[in-house]
């Protein structure tokens, strides 16, 4: 039997065993707007308030990729701040040959690689640090242990697979957003997520 694949646009918030699969954190449109262009130019001249606008705009996606790399909320916050500090210091070198988001995401990916090379990944549940309003609050101890075991299995994946999996399943990003963050074709994202899920399922089953 051959089952053909015909992709379609993601549907409106489907659910998976009662958990919304389309849950997304607020993600800004990544197209460079005139206002963003202006903020970048002002920040290049040393305007901290303009830079704060950029931090507000890109804080969530940068934190997402940092958490998907480190699996530790506190470490992800620290790493995300480091990314923005590096961006501030390197902003004068940004020539606008690519979108600001592309430049910033590349910076974040490099920092994540550096961090993961330096330190081993020790997964911690985000709910341990951020206890405000999400499903894990009500999860019982057994569910939390299972989730932590799955996270531990994810920690052993290669960085690209781990990032793709967690950006999708933990941070709730869409395939296109992940492709932009990882700077790979969307087909690569599909195969990475599938391979990562299969690998984690196999490890968890042992």
């Amino acid at each position: 039997m051959e089952i053909s694949l015909a992709l379609q646009e993601a549907e409106s918030v489907p659910t998976l065993d009662g958990v919304p699969t389309g849950r997304r954190l607020e993600q800004p449109s990544r197209a460079t707007t005139p206002a963003e262009q202006l903020a970048v130019e002002r920040a290049q001249q040393g305007d901290e308030r303009a830079f704060a606008e950029l931090v507000d705009r890109y804080g969530q996606p940068i934190l997402s990729i940092c958490y998907a790399s480190t699996l530790d909320p506190a470490e992800a916050e620290d790493l995300a701040q480091e990314v923005f500090l590096a961006a501030w210091r390197g902003l004068r070198g940004f020539r606008g040959e690519s979108a600001f988001s592309t430049w910033l995401f590349a910076l974040a990916r490099n920092r994540c690689v550096d961090r993961v090379r330096r330190a081993s990944v020790r997964p911690r549940l985000a709910v341990e640090d951020h206890s405000e309003g999400h499903a894990a609050e009500d999860a019982d101890a057994s569910t939390r242990r299972t989730a932590l075991a799955i996270l531990a299995a994810a920690a052993s994946l290669s960085l690209p697979l781990r990032q793709a999996l967690l950006l999708r399943d933990v941070q709730g990003l869409g395939y296109e957003e992940i492709a932009e963050l990882q700077e790979v074709p969307i087909g690569t994202v599909r195969s990475r997520i599938a391979a990562a899920r299969a690998a984690v399922a196999e490890k968890a089953d042992r």
Binding site: A6, L7, L85, Y175, R190
Partner: protein, 152 residues
Amino acid sequence: MSDHVTDEQLSLLIDGELSLTARAAITSHLNTCPSCAERHDALVGVAVSLRLTGPARWRPAFTAGVLERLAPRRRIDVALPISASFAIAAVALAAFHLTVVTAGLAFAGSMFEGLGQFVPSVVSARPAGTLASLVTIALFGPLLSLRLARWR
């Protein structure tokens, strides 16, 4: 060509990324193939468990933290008019100077108490301390107040 659905197809099914036709075909296959159904359930288990861990969320305080790390000293935000900053500087200088001068004179008076007629008493020396304070304020007050006013 395969007799079974691939992990990628199962994954796309989980994420709602398939067309209605493809979804129907795969769902139909899962109903008749225990092996694929088992793999599907395992992948669903991974996705559900990860979704329950909760995302890391950016908070406005993080932006403040980033700005704080840009240039810590410049984040001291004193937005005072020049007159207010001069008044604060003058009072601070006067208080400091009066304390030092008075304490110094009291110490000198106690040291040379036996020489009574040659050394002025603490009480008689206080106007001199006040005068010295005024001179200090006149000289350094404007400089300090300008410094405070620029520190915004």
